[in-house]
């Protein structure tokens, strides 16, 4: 069987690609769409480095088949800032030194934005549990949690 042709939207732009039926969305995002900001840490949904938004839902792109996204909206880290303006979360991650090696950072940012869209005023515990699907081996989470709480406060105004 030939490869499938899929049309979708990525970070607001129309895109189309050909994929094998068993290919993951992560593979297509990284290898075909060349958006390598979404990372592969485990390919089993245990690390969250591949987090993207799929029609407004936070998902692991490693556990989504590319053929499933026909007509859907995908949002990745590359679409998070608005021109020159970094998203408040991106800025707070920088200000709080909430990243070290940075391989988990795109996943954390995508997940944290999804949290703040649902819950603009999370407690520390809520932040920690929401982000439990994103592993970070460098920071011990301290500065990440601080950055998210601080971003939430600034976003609330």
């Amino acid at each position: 069987m030939t490869r499938r042709h899929i049309e979708a939207k990525i970070n607001g732009d129309n895109c189309d690609f050909l994929c094998e039926s068993n290919e993951t969305l992560l593979s297509v995002i990284r290898n075909q769409l060349q958006l390598t900001g979404t990372k592969e840490g485990c390919s089993t949904g245990d690390c969250g480095a591949c987090s993207v938004m799929l029609d407004g839902r936070l998902v692991c792109s490693c556990l989504t088949l590319a053929v499933e996204v026909e007509g859907k909206n995908i949002d990745t880290i590359e679409g998070m800032s608005n021109g020159e303006d970094l998203h408040i979360l991106q800025r707070k991650f920088l200000e709080h030194a909430a990243l070290q090696c940075g391989i988990c950072t795109p996943g954390f940012l995508i997940a944290a934005r999804a949290l703040l869209e649902k819950n603009p005023n999370p407690t520390e515990t809520e932040v920690r549990y929401w982000l439990a699907g994103n592993l970070c081996r460098c920071t011990g989470y301290h500065k990440i949690v601080e950055a998210v709480l601080d971003a939430a406060e600034e976003m609330r105004g």
């Binding site: 089993t44 982000l131 970070c136 500065k143």
Partner: protein, 769 residues
């Protein structure tokens, strides 16, 4: 100390502030390029067939069916590589034998662990490369295996290397050691290492109290989120280019050159952004395979490990079996200390035994010491360094025994350590006499810390423990160019392993010049651009990198002064450099307006050409690092679950160049230690296969498992760094295991001598009690 750069106390403008890291924006926007993000035109994809058995003779390998699949371009085995003689060469924090390394990269006679590479394939797509693995046929003769370190040491144990005879190394402070004849039979004990100082028997005879205990720890993985990845290309005339995510691209180059028989100049290694290493990315795994495949197919070959491969075939730390015996007089002064540390090195010799043995008792000033260590081969992956390699394993035992001594002597556990603490002038049992160190300061600050005095509730307990790491310098280079607008381009060869050394180096250079740190752009050069750099390990990045960056800056500043003298037509000694300007040394020199760095740069062509500085150095004078941690836990006595309530890291940084990154090292290291203490472990089945090959069952802490980690940065300057910097990365992972076990004791009345303190173990002990 000769050949060191002295500490100078001065008023600082940049150092100690918290600018945003230069690699930050790339990392929050997804631009940063890591190992797997690199693609080269025309690349093929490599994959590795790995042994499904922990120990087996490879009788034959048939790759014909795999090669028959359309799109499969090449298959290589151990036979494609030259065999290497047994030869020990220092690499990273360990010594490497290339006979072993070539066998670790791809097996020859035997498969020695579950996951050992046997065949590597190159194909036109990842899916075809993976499919091809299913068609490889290997005829194995399965052998009995041994994984546990104590079992492996027993006479009659299954041997990994039939020709391995124990190497004896004895060191005695101040006098010749007694000789010890090596065993005549081969064994899994690759090495027996002994350190001695004073007379331990005499020491113990004076003890009022002696505590002797045995401890066991499990192997744990570094757990970096980025799997190993590499792209290599080899041209028809033998020029090799390798992109790889490692902690030391120069070391990767050396190892590849040696393993493949290629001249060093023919290999260029380009470092990518590193997605975590913690010691696990000091050595080659995929790189020699990718180069060899590329050499055959004349196309670039990209190889990326799966998480399963990372767990089965890279890292981990050793497991340790540790015996500790400490004696004190009735006032709590330690009179003698004795330890035996048996460490799994995995499939080949070379565990971090030297580090474990020399860090073992070194926090304390003890007259009579003996430490014996064994390096033991077992059927699991060859160990790799993991943050303070070896030290946490020894410290778990020693700091647990210290806690028990304090209790028995009714002395506060911090006071017992304060009483015995090593200080400036203390001579260690491995010979070094400490310069100015900050251990006592960390202990005293811990004692006074508010977290040491918060009242605890039922089922809660507080524990303390300390850590020491000697820190290292080693070969380091940098090249600094003053750009035509007076900004600075600094090229370094020591990888920023995530801690933010690029930021810290820019800050030190900016401080030297007297300009803002954002005027300094730091780039990591590839291996063709600079002289050799050792791997970023042993907490050397900011210390050693800083020294060569400062020296390069000082050379460039000197040159700037020469240009100013030329411009003003005055002798050089009448020009001073201050706050980013060349100024006349005094009003007598003449009424010249100060020349900014930008002014001098702009006129560089007229005054002699571009301005630069560089430095190449085997950096000496690493300042020993010490830390103390306080942990509060709560134990759920019905389930055995241990919750970390508070965790405080107090550590001497010498000088925190960028305090946020120092805190980040303290917090990250502490949480890795929490993982080691509570839930991380390699679990093997009876068949010798690793059972937890993913992040679901290899349980690194998640955000909801840990509290905020409080930090307190002590700054006792390292006398051998211009700003007083000490390495800080290793120490934070050393105290947590014992601090947590000591806290659990306070909460439950039970001393745990084995890690991890997983719920089944804790509950079983509580139920038994």
């Amino acid at each position: 100390m000769s050949d060191t750069v002295a500490y100078e106390e001065k008023k600082l403008k940049i150092i100690g502030t918290r600018p945003i890291r230069p690699d930050g924006v790339d990392k929050v926007t997804g631009r940063a390029r890591y190992g797997a993000d690199i693609n080269l035109p025309g690349q093929l994809f490599g994959s590795v067939y790995r042994s499904p058995y922990p120990h087996a003779i490879i009788k034959s390998i048939d790759v014909s069916a795999a090669l028959a699949i359309p799109g499969v371009k090449a298959a290589i085995t151990g036979d494609d590589f030259e065999d290497m003689p047994s030869q020990f060469i220092p690499v990273g924090e360990m010594v490497v034998n290339f006979r072993d390394m070539t066998r670790n990269v791809i097996a020859r006679e035997k498969a020695l662990y579950d996951g050992h590479p046997i065949v590597a394939i190159a194909a036109i797509s990842e899916s075809i490369a993976k499919e091809a693995l299913k068609h490889i046929k290997v005829d194995f003769e399965i052998l009995p295996h041994v994984i546990d370190v104590v079992e492996a040491m027993k006479p009659g144990a299954t041997l990994l290397h039939e020709e391995q005879y124990t190497l004896i190394e004895r060191k005695r402070l101040g006098s010749e050691p007694t000789t010890e004849s090596p065993p005549k039979e081969p064994s899994n004990i690759a090495k027996r290492l002994t350190w001695e100082k004073g007379d331990i028997e005499n020491g113990f005879s004076k003890a009022h109290i002696i505590i002797e205990k045995e401890f066991n720890t499990k192997p744990v993985h570094q757990g970096y989120i980025e799997p190993h990845a590499t792209v290599a290309t080899c041209t028809e005339d033998g020029q090799v280019e390798v992109y790889t995510c490692s902690q030391g691209h120069f070391v990767i180059r050396s190892q590849c050159a040696k393993l493949l028989g290629i001249e060093v100049s023919k290999i260029k290694v380009i470092p990518t952004e590193l997605g975590g290493g913690f010691g696990g990315k000091n050595n080659v795994y995929l790189e020699p395979l990718a180069i060899m495949l590329s050499k055959i197919v004349h196309r670039p070959v990209k190889m990326v490990m799966s998480r399963n491969e990372v767990f089965r075939a890279t890292g981990p730390s050793p497991a340790g079996h540790v015996k500790v015996k400490i004696g004190c007089d009735k006032n709590g002064n330690i009179v003698a200390a004795d330890a035996q540390i048996d460490m799994q090195s995995g499939a080949f010799p070379g565990s971090p035994l030297p580090q474990a043995t020399i860090t073992c008792f070194t926090r304390y000033d003890i007259e009579n010491v003996r430490v014996i260590g064994h390096d033991v081969t077992t059927n699991r992956p060859k160990v790799a360094a993991y943050r303070a390699p070896g030290a946490p394993i020894a410290a778990f035992g020693v700091e647990s025994v210290m806690d028990e001594l304090a209790e028995k002597l009714s002395i506060d556990p911090l006071d017992l350590r304060i009483m015995n603490a090593a200080k400036e002038g203390t001579q260690t049992y491995y010979g070094v006499t400490f310069p100015q160190i900050g251990f006592l300061e960390t202990l005293k600050r811990a004692k006074a810390h508010k977290n040491y005095n918060i009242p605890l509730e039922k089922n809660q307990g507080r524990g303390v423990a300390t850590g020491f790491w000697m820190n290292i310098g080693n070969d380091t280079t940098s090249s600094l160019n003053v750009n035509d607008d007076g900004t600075i381009a600094l090229t370094i060869g020591t990888i920023d392993v995530a801690g933010g050394s690029r930021s810290s180096l820019a800050m030190m250079v900016a401080e030297e010049f007297g300009i803002d740190s954002d005027k300094v752009r730091v780039t990591t050069g590839d291996t063709s651009q600079l002289g050799f750099n050792f791997v970023t390990a042993g907490s050397r990045g900011t210390f050693a990198g800083g020294i060569v960056a400062i020296l390069a800056a000082r050379k460039a500043i000197e040159e700037c002064k020469i240009r100013a003298a030329k411009t003003w037509n005055v002798p050089l000694d009448e020009v001073v450099w201050e706050d980013g300007y060349a100024r006349p040394a005094s009003s007598n020199v003449g009424g010249f307006d100060p020349l900014s760095l930008a002014d001098i740069a702009k006129n560089a062509t007229k005054t002699g050409g571009p301005i630069a500085g560089h430095s190449e150095k085997n950096v000496q004078g690493a300042g020993p690092g010490f830390g103390t941690q306080i942990v509060d836990v709560e134990v759920d006595k019905e389930t055995g679950s241990v919750k970390i309530l508070r965790h405080t890291v107090i550590q001497d940084a010498g000088k925190a160049i960028h305090p946020a990154y120092v805190e980040g090292q303290y917090q990250g290291g502490a949480v890795q230690g929490i993982g080691w203490a509570l839930n991380e472990e390699y679990i093997y089945g009876d068949d010798g296969k690793l059972q937890n090959t993913g992040f679901l069952d290899y349980r690194v802490p998640v955000a909801s498992d840990v509290p905020f980690i409080d930090t307190d940065i002590v700054e006792v300057p390292n006398p051998y760094h211009p700003y007083g910097v000490r390495g800080i990365g290793e120490v934070p992972i050393i105290p947590p295991t014992a601090a947590i076990a000591n806290a659990v004791y306070k909460a439950t009345g039970i001393r745990f001598n084995s890690l991890p303190l997983s719920p089944p173990k804790v509950l079983a002990a509580i139920t038994k009690k």
